[in-house]
């Protein structure tokens, strides 16, 4: 069962914008409101839009269960290893060893009102990206399994 052509085309047009806005919320998680969970939820909303608009047979080519499982595993591993990486640099678990080193995400934060520098906060953007990938995979796979269960039930 799929919806009308207007709904399907709107969902197709809207999907990349949802993904880009979700990535924006994830990437600016340490500067503006939002963060990993909120950005991942926005991205998963785009996937939910596609799932509601299209029939299940048409969507399996674009949103695969195995890809979403792999995304979920990658996000969790990224969060865990980003936390554990502090142990290599004589810091505790989740120790922010990346700040003030002069490499990625390590500029010192300016004092007073400023437009915001993306290259700050050390480990926190990595944790935000990990959580964003994890939430996108997890929430999309819930919807995919619900839809595939209904599809399998109605088939015979």
């Amino acid at each position: 069962m799929k919806m009308t052509k207007i709904v399907r085309t709107t969902a197709d047009v809207f999907y990349p914008f949802c993904l880009v806005f979700g990535l924006y919320v994830v990437m600016h998680g340490h500067l503006t409101p939002g963060g990993g969970f909120q950005g991942g939820a926005v991205m998963a909303t785009g996937a939910a839009l596609l799932l509601v608009a299209h029939a299940y047979e048409d969507i399996t080519g674009r949103l695969r269960k195995t890809a979403m499982k792999i995304l979920e595993a990658i996000g969790l591993m990224m969060f865990l290893f980003a936390g554990l990486s502090g142990l290599l640099f004589e810091r505790p678990f989740m120790g922010n060893w990346m700040a003030f080193t002069g490499k990625w995400f390590s500029h010192p934060v300016a004092h007073g009102p400023n437009p915001g520098d993306l290259n700050t906060a050390g480990l926190l953007p990595l944790l935000n990206i990990g959580v964003g990938i994890e939430v996108l995979g997890g929430l999309t796979i819930i919807l995919l399994y619900m839809l595939s269960g209904i599809h399998a039930e109605k088939k015979p």
Partner: protein, 84 residues
């Protein structure tokens, strides 16, 4: 201050109306859409109360994903509530 109070009063009125509509509708698809409108108004209210973080989460989860889950569930069952 006054325009914000007026906006808040309108939004709270809208919350009550949409909440009553969710219960009143016999068409479950219409009830799901009314619930999405309820979540969107709640997100705006969170934003006015200076909690933009909660507002993004509410708009993403409440208005987006929950509605999708309800619509998928309605697809698998019946659209209209049965009379007792």
């Amino acid at each position: 201050m006054t325009p914000f109070l007026l906006l808040q009063a309108l939004i709270l009125l809208g919350l009550i109306i949409t909440g009553a509509l969710v219960v009143a509708f016999k068409d479950l698809l219409a009830a799901a859409i009314a619930f999405a409108a309820f979540s969107l108004l709640l997100a705006i209210e969170f934003y006015i109360l200076q909690a933009p973080d909660v507002a993004i989460a509410e708009a993403g989860i409440g208005a987006g994903l929950t509605t999708a889950i309800f619509i998928i569930a309605i697809r698998g069952t019946k659209r209209f509530e049965e009379k007792e």
